[in-house]
Amino acid sequence: MSIWLASNPWLTVLYGVIVLAILAAVAWFTPWSIALFTFREGLRKKTLIGFLILSILVIFGSMFMTAMMYDTGGTVATDVDVKLIKDICITAISIFGVLIAIFISASVVPTEIENKVVYTVLSKPVRRFQYLLGKFVGVQIIVAVNLLLMGVLFSIALYIKEPIFPRMLLYAIFLTYFEFLIVSAFTFAVAAASTSAVLPTIAGLFIYITGNLTQYLESVVNRSEASESAVDKTLGGLAWVLRNTLPDLQYFSLKTQILSLQINDTPKDIQIPNLVVYGILYALAGYIIAYWVFRRKEL
């Protein structure tokens, strides 16, 4: 059964159909005017610009750091410089990118409720799920544009150091987006239930950290298997459910593997489309929960 689930080609086709249906539905139902308005609003936020500037500083700062190492004696091989730039930049993109995703996802809906703009919009012939979809898509455009911008700067930093088109970087940035998509969708769900941006922001950070630590649950399950205690067994059962339900953001660590492995030793690229599907399905779950909460909200 498990093998059937893991590698059945028909299941792969079914997943493909589901993802295409989701994308088609998003394209069809999204009120693009709301999405574009959200995007424009997002660009004006000082916090986001601050994060973006910080990330740019870190990306170019990485070049100075490695340059200093080289100047101290010239013994560090060029490969180490490039590796350090890659590690620093991908970490900067991950940290600042996820902060941007969390802050923007946490603030778009609560801000509009606070400013009462939501009442004006919902008085128009726009359904709540469409309004929310527009907001969500707008957030994703902001996240994607920021990521793209950071990715371009990263590429330039790499290209200056080693004039080869950094093709691997595209895969890494592409995967990073789907990691952010999951965090952003669940933060959005919390934000839909909230009237202020503070709680969803904290929740978003919590989601990101928890998502990276999901694998710890596996050791809880393993220890409970060895234990005789009923409490341990129950805890183990709960951990098993959470382990298999919560998204595991460590899966996206593939991006660093792609970037840092040697030319003859790269991970199997079949993981990339599977991770894309993984991101989209959890984002769908996040959006449905967001809508479920938002439609019950008294406005």
């Binding site: 101290t72 691997m168 595991d248 840092s260 991970p267 599907v277």
Partner: protein, 598 residues
């Protein structure tokens, strides 16, 4: 939807989460298959390179690890599942003479066809071979197949329980074969940023190096690779620090003060300890990154060949480097090491192959005749030795009054001497041509010519002229210095001529070393070895003139024996001449003159 909106949304949310969870299961399965596939490659490589897929462990430790058991199960299934593949040169296990299992043959030369970036490492590596890419895809398909599901499940379980000694790339458990308590969750400790943490620790290594704080570097280097086992440059530069920079300020330990370490199979002083630490660091790197030729190359060339002058091991690792995607100079260094071990025919064949791939390559054009001449020189020396033995026997026969037999022996000796002279003339002609046709002269060829001339002069009783020639030659050709110095000492002793101060010092050091050896037998693998100063040989204590099989570094038999019974390295590491017994058979090992270590 309109009647039960909450229920419908709840169901939809659950369905989406369930689909996500199922996809998560599929991704996890893929990741495990990827780790399993890498483990297969790692285990196959280790079997081929180190002769074992697990470190040498004993007792409970050995029973704990399941690598071999699991690997054998996979190998049995691979024989049926993988397509047939021809047995090529190098696909034969030297130890048993049998071809490697199909899985090991398949993983021998793999190239990842996907997600590759040429020149990523700063230099243009040899492009992926389509045939190798196809094989890689087949091994990957096999590793994911339903038929291997039980082995994959066991792999995941063993890995979780830390019962796999073979830590491969991306398995995520670094160094477990040494440190059983290594944290499995080190990756999560840094929320996925451990590679950055490794980079930052590496900066500390660099700082420590520039401050001259060598003692801080080793733990920091180990921390770096624990955080990021795929940081190949850390292994390469770390080993370089250990083998070159750390030892730069150290003085050589005199031979009589060196200690024999059976685990290393060598007499070690301070410098040698650092060299072997570098070798072990690189071997760790190979366990974690079995496909990176640079690790094999640095281990073979930078440490074994250049620092330890151990060309037998250099050949082993450089050969493995050439099986991965590699730079063209890797093969050149392999052929130099083959030459240094006395495998001139193999070196020549390699250079010919290299010249076919790189027409007009100047070094290859020189090395082909060089190895041909070395072959002739070696054969000439063997004939000369044989002729001398016959003459000695003739002398004895004459003394016994067997005139006819003495005459016959002398005739045979003359015949051999003629053949020797012919071979020497051919070798000399080759060296002369080489020297004349190379712009600025060929140093190596010139050194060989001088050596031959000096030996001839010495044989004719013109030792003083021979010594003058060698003394001049060793100054003109730096790499001939050691060989010429040894010849000078040998000739002076034979002709009863006085030695200069440095030569006497060298003799004195050798004598002190021999005295120290004679006074103190060595225990190796539960056997006692005694040193016989007169014969300059280490002998196993219970040797009593039994019949022996002779081994040299160039012998194929030795390569096979070493792989099958790694303990041999501990025996032959004792000295230039060692007599030992293995499985009821006695062997005598002779580390011959290496005829030109380049």
């Amino acid at each position: 939807m309109k009647r039960f909106p909450n229920l419908v949304l709840a169901v939809l949310a659950v369905i989406a989460l369930a689909l996500g969870a199922l996809q998560g299961y599929r991704v996890r399965n893929l990741r495990e298959a990827d780790a399993f596939y890498r483990w297969l490659v790692t285990a196959s490589t280790q079997l081929r390179v180190f002769g074992t897929i697990t470190p040498e462990l004993e007792g409970e430790e050995a029973e704990k690890f399941m690598d071999r058991d699991l690997f054998d199960r996979v190998v049995a299934k691979a024989d049926q599942a993988l397509p047939d593949t021809p047995v090529l040169d190098g696909d034969v296990d030297d130890a048993t003479g049998a071809p490697y299992p199909k899985l090991v043959r398949y993983t021998r030369t793999l190239s990842t066809g996907s997600l590759t970036e040429e020149g990523e490492s700063g230099t243009a590596a040899v492009a992926a071979n389509p045939e190798q890419v196809k094989k890689d895809a087949e091994v990957w398909r096999f590793a994911r197949s339903a038929s291997l599901a039980p082995e994959r499940a066991d792999f995941v379980r063993f890995r979780r329980d830390k019962r796999l000694a073979t830590a491969g790339t991306q398995i995520g458990v670094a160094d477990i074969y040494k440190n059983q308590e290594a944290p499995v969750s080190i990756g999560q400790m840094f929320l996925g940023f451990r590679k950055l943490a490794a980079g930052l620790v590496w900066i500390q290594v660099d700082e420590a190096f520039h401050k001259g704080e060598m003692q801080r570097m080793v733990p920091l280097m180990r921390t770096t690779v624990l955080l990021d086992p795929n940081f190949v440059d850390a292994y390469l530069i770390g080993a370089w620090h250990l083998a070159y920079n750390l030892t730069a300020q150290m003085s050589d330990t005199p031979g009589y003060l060196k200690e024999y370490v059976p685990e290393l199979g060598a007499w070690v002083g301070n410098k040698e300890r650092a060299y072997y630490a570098a070798a072990n660091f690189l071997k760790d790197g190979i366990r974690n990154n079995p496909r990176d030729y640079r690790l094999y190359f640095d281990l073979g060339y930078a440490v074994y060949a250049e620092k330890l002058n151990d060309h037998m091991n250099a050949v082993t690792y450089l050969t493995e480097a050439t099986k991965q995607r590699h730079e063209s100079w890797v093969r050149r260094m392999l052929y130099h090491s083959l030459q240094a071990t006395g495998q001139f025919e193999e070196a020549r064949a390699g250079w010919e192959d290299y010249l076919r791939a790189n027409p007009g390559h100047a070094v290859a054009q020189r090395m082909i005749p060089t190895n041909t001449a070395l072959t002739k020189e070696r054969d000439a020396e063997a004939l000369g030795a044989q002729a001398r033995r016959l003459l000695t026997q003739a002398g004895q026969a004459r003394a016994d009054g067997q005139e006819a037999q003495a005459a016959e022996l002398e005739r045979q000796a003359q015949e051999l001497t003629k053949q020797r002279d012919a071979l020497q003339a051919e070798a000399r002609a080759i060296y002369t041509d080489l020297n004349a046709n190379t712009a600025g002269g060929d140093e190596f060829a010139q050194a060989r010519l001088w050596r031959m001339q000096a030996l001839e002069l010495h044989e004719q009783g013109r030792t003083l002229e021979a010594l003058a020639l060698l003394r001049q030659a060793r100054m003109e050709v730096a790499r001939f210095f050691q060989e010429a110095s040894d010849l000078i000492i040998q000739m002076c002793i034979e002709a009863d001529l006085p030695l200069n101060l440095s030569e006497r010092k060298r003799i004195l050091e050798i004598e002190r070393m021999k005295e120290a050896w004679t006074a103190k037998p060595v225990e190796v693998a539960g056997r006692r070895f005694d040193f016989d100063a007169a014969q300059d040989a280490w002998r196993q204590a219970d040797y009593a003139d039994q019949e022996t099989i002779a081994l040299t570094p160039a012998a194929k038999d030795l390569a096979a024996l070493r792989k099958d019974r790694p303990v041999i390295d501990q025996f032959i590491g004792l000295g230039d001449n060692v007599v030992f017994e293995l499985d009821g058979q006695w062997y005598e090992f002779h580390r011959r003159s290496l005829l030109g270590n380049t």
